[in-house]
Amino acid sequence: MNRMLPLFRRSILDGWRGLVGWTIGILAALFLYLPLYPSFGGNGQMQQIIDTLPPELVRSLNYDQIGSGPGYAQATFYGLIGFVLITIAAVGWGTEAIANDEENGQLELTLAHGVLRGQVFAERAAAVLVKLVWLAVVSVAVVMVLNEPAELGIEFDHLVATAVAFLGLVSLAATAAIGVGAVTGRRSWAVGAGAGIAVYAYALNALGNQSDDLGWLHDWSPYSWAYGDSPILNGWSGTIWLNYAVIAALLLVGWLVFRRRDVAV
């Protein structure tokens, strides 16, 4: 009668158009940026341009490593355009998971059926995370395809570490939206939490880059936890997993509160 994970499948099916769109977005960003590296990154031209820019701006944009292939991929995609794009997707999906569905009234109908609150929360959160994993995997595949033609010289293991760090960072925004949505049931709170944590992470890292006096700010930025040790150059680092710990905490709190509170009031 009932097949496995009905709510998970429904979420994926409902969102396939969006997922295709974001996948195309990632492909477009990577295929636009990375092939440019040999023409003006690899020959030192890029470094010359960077040297003419105010150092504060360069540090804010994390462009200090842009002269190397791995640094270029990090600065353009994982650290900036990919981060912004996928954070938008993550916050949108995270908000849809509970808060949006609750505000538009359909969650009430779903919960009136033969499902458990915890199950709804878990399956929908899983659907969001699986979609983000997909996008991270797509990025790894595309970077590997472009690695040689674009003369990036990125090691596969380092790339995987970077993608895992990236996934942790964007999933943090997604789970903030899911968790706050599950606790409050309010769309605006969920969006605010997801977007807020991404802006906070990025801004704190950018401030921390400005001077050694402000370097301690890195300790509090999820962006720094993900990228502070430059996984694309150096491989795995322990702080990557800090984001996953916060994700787990957010999911736990959301799950606990969502099972107990009144819905649709």
Binding site: M1, N2, R3, P6, L7, R10, L13, D14, N104, G105, Q106, E108, L109, T110, L111, A112, H113, G114, V115, L116, Q119, R260, D262, V263, A264, V265
Partner: protein, 324 residues
């Protein structure tokens, strides 16, 4: 907890508070299995709150609640599979087609007989091949009814089920309720007007400001309802007739008015006591007699107007209106 009384729904002192406002003040309600039970009341009376409590969408602040033998909180998913629910505010914004939408809900409700969805769609006249969000309000309501009925649940909880339906579909819906009752299903439905429930519901409860102000059968309501009566007699008999009517129980507001040459019309309201009235009038020389069918709606409106919050508790806000 309460023991299973055999009722489909049983509540004792059921209370729901949202912060400072109280939506339900200790509701005592028993809905027998196999009955069609109507709950009527103005907006914000607590109808939706009561129904959401049954489905465990919200949790009671105090009191006891047993649905099909189990408290909703404990019964969980297994209990909800045995219930069909139509929310009062049905928002279906998905671009998924009707058939696919219902297939999803069939997966997470009780087992749905093959062909049941199409049968219901044919009866109600809704095209399931169209995206749900493109359907009109009435057609969305039909989709909502299908998901409530399709697994032939033991208990149907329908919050203002006929809203948005045209009269023909309403008739079909009433037929569906009769069939459900014939199959032994229990129906609990709500409305803000009596006319929507009096055709199908035997028993009704009138809810106002979170309290039951009247619980009765439609027949008993009708029996006790106030009727307007008019007796026309010859002018010469008027004084005698007036005295006779005045002495009757249940007669109020007696007034005489000239009614054409040589006759007088005596009009009054009659509260129950129809038998005594007819027998007394039979002794008079009656030229004309009119007794209007009682207007139950008027009676219910009178309940809506009754001030039941005369206690010291703060006047509660209209939950439904305040919600969004």
């Amino acid at each position: 907890m309460t023991t299973d009384t055999g009722a489909a729904v049983s509540t004792r002192g059921l209370t729901k508070r949202y912060g400072a406002t109280t939506a339900l003040h200790g509701l005592d309600l028993d809905i027998p299995r196999g009955s069609v039970f109507g709950m009527i009341g103005p907006n914000g009376a607590g109808k939706t709150t009561t129904m959401r409590l049954l489905l465990d969408i919200i949790r009671p602040t105090a009191g006891e609640l047993v649905v099909l033998g189990r408290p909703p909180r404990e019964g969980g998913a297994e209990l909800r599979r045995r219930i069909g629910y139509l929310p009062g505010e049905l928002h279906l914004g998905t671009r998924v087609k009707g058939r696919e939408f219902l297939a999803h809900y069939a997966e997470i409700s009780g087992p749905v007989r093959k062909g049941a969805v199409d049968d219901l769609a044919d009866r109600l006249g809704v095209d399931l091949g169209r995206p749900v969000r493109s359907l009109s309000k009435g057609n969305k309501q039909k989709v909502g009814l299908i998901q409530a009925f399709m697994h032939e649940p033991e208990l149907l909880v329908l919050d203002e089920p006929t809203s948005g339906l045209d009269p023909l579909v309403q008739q079909e819906f009433h037929a569906m309720l009769h069939e459900a009752k014939a199959k032994g299903q229990t129906v609990f439905l709500s409305s803000h007007v009596l006319s929507e429930v009096q055709q199908t519901a035997l028993e009704i409860a009138i809810l106002k400001e979170g309290r039951i102000v009247e619980q009765s059968t439609v027949a008993a309501l009708r029996e006790n309802a106030v009727r307007h009566v008019k007796v026309v007699v010859a002018e010469t008999d008027a004084a005698d007739a007036r005295a006779t009517l005045d002495s009757l129980p249940g007669v109020a507001g007696l007034a005489a008015a000239p009614n054409g040459p040589g006759t007088v019309a005596l009009s009054a309201t009659l509260d129950a006591h129809v038998d005594a009235f007819v027998k007394a009038v039979a002794r008079l020389d009656v030229i004309d007699l009119t007794m209007e069918e009682p207007d139950l709606e008027e009676m219910v409106l009178a309940y809506y107007g009754t001030d039941v919050s005369s206690t010291a508790e703060p006047v509660e806000a209209d939950r439904k209106a305040a919600k969004r």
